[in-house]
């Protein structure tokens, strides 16, 4: 393959004691691609993102970012050894992450949250960081809230600041872990609007979400998970109209009823072969 995927996980497995939360997941996302990860609660979606970002290194499997393996480094003699903590931090800086619970730092202003990494990690001058930080806040529509502390912001505003904070580090890939699940319904739209704008600009994104309408609108590809495995991995238009797997179809039947404007998916023909080949 000439261009390596922006991010790829191979054989990702995560065990917590006797429980296998992630069971040999393969996923690859091309540069500029928007992938939405759908699936019932407890299907391993969030764990997948934590493994891809190495916040929780997987029990088994490997993650490559732009062809470079996370957590490993290649010595000058060609041997591969576990990466130092500093090296891993550097590798991880190519990934940005947005969390369900925003995770803003409450003792810093909106601008302080956005510029913290620029100043402390990138070592940029405060004035430069400030300029960039204000730009990022403007991009999420919050230029006027630069000096507000998170406690003064609504959930939707906090999540937009969190997106600006991730964007400020200029990551190659953005991971979203249920970014709207903790929001009041009336605040979901403003966050999704920011994410849709990012998708339109072909930002590489993996979005774990329960927002089916957003996934149908913005995603290029849908990864449907259940029981720690990928059940179906398909182009978005095909997934929503003609899912190949019974479990995907049942999930869509249960969840899409709530969204007007999406036609009901066609039930897959189960008489033939089941498409479990990618799980091997």
């Amino acid at each position: 393959m000439s261009t390596p995927p922006a991010i790829a996980g191979r054989g990702l497995t995560m065990r917590f004691g006797p429980a296998t939360v992630l069971d040999g997941v393969d996923i690859a996302v091309a540069r500029g691609e928007v992938v939405c990860v759908l699936g019932p609660s407890g299907s391993g979606k969030s764990t997948l993102l934590r493994c891809l970002s190495f916040l929780t290194p997987p029990s088994a499997g490997a993650v490559h970012v732009g062809g470079e393996q996370l957590g490993m480094e290649t010595k000058s003699d060609g041997t591969t050894v576990p990466a130092s903590a500093a090296r891993l931090r550097h590798q991880r800086s190519r990934i940005g992450m947005v969390f369900q619970s925003f995770n803003l730092w409450p003792h810093l202003t909106a601008l302080g949250n956005v510029t913290e990494g620029l100043v402390q990690v990138r070592g940029e001058a405060r004035t430069d960081a400030r300029t960039q930080g204000l730009e990022m806040l403007a991009a999420v529509g919050l230029a006027d809230k630069a000096d507000a502390y998170p406690a003064r912001l609504s959930g939707g505003q906090q999540q937009r600041v969190a997106i600006a904070r991730a964007l400020a580090m200029k990551p190659e890939i953005l991971l979203f872990d249920e970014p709207t699940s903790a929001l009041d319904p009336e605040l979901v739209g403003e966050v999704l609007a920011v994410m849709e704008a990012l998708a339109e600009r072909h930002t590489t994104m993996i979005v774990v979400t329960h927002e089916i309408a957003f996934a149908a609108e913005a995603a290029d590809r849908i990864v449907f998970m259940d029981g720690g495995r990928i059940v179906e991995d398909a182009p978005a238009d095909r997934f929503f109209t003609t899912p190949a797997e019974e479990r995907s179809w049942r999930f869509l039947e249960r969840t899409m009823g709530r969204y007007l404007g999406l036609s009901r998916p066609q039930r897959p023909d189960m008489s033939g072969m089941s498409r479990h080949d990618h799980e091997v």
């Binding site: 969390f99 995770n103 730092w105 409450p106 003792h107 502390y149 003064r152």
Partner: protein, 224 residues
Amino acid sequence: MSVDWAALVPYLPDLARGFAVTVALTFGGAACALFMAIGLVLATSAGGPAIRRSVRIYTEIILGLPILVLLYLIYFVLPQLGLRIGEVAAGILTLTLYYAPYMAEAIRGAIASVPAGQVDAARMIGLNPVQIFIRILLPQTLGLLIPPLTGILIGLAKDTAILSVISVHELAYATKRVVSRTYTPFEVWALVAGLYWLALSALEVLMRRLEGRVTRFRASGASA
């Protein structure tokens, strides 16, 4: 009983010197204990199982020991093992060893109150563990730390009086000496009790002010 305050006047400088020593012991002991407490917290969070177990055993020994017994162990028993230290050093060492585990517990509790997600976010931004502690955890936990630390500090300040039994020239020791010269125990002890109360109340007010300062980011949130 006749009360004779005038008899005290010539001895006020002695009491003032004793008070100064008590203040110095309090802050010296508290600083050393805080330093050691941070070491204990880091040892339990980053150290291996052997280190963690030793910290736990040490903590349990201290929690089950009256401070007077610890003081005697250090001042009378250590020299027999060939380790001779002065009474002030023994006093500070006692306060440090005795109060560090309590402070460590307060620090651990405060840090545990910061949601783990904030550390995840900091790691994703690329902050290293020291930056996370200094830039993310410490500023938020200071406000939570000050109330329990105030209680511990006041306990430590009061326990400096125990050091008088090994002849550290602090306020309680000075008081006993003045009483033995003037034979006016009521006046001297009443005065000194008032002094302790005043100083400790001032300390508490001071710490509360400090708490207000470091939690301004919360107040500004509430005022919106």
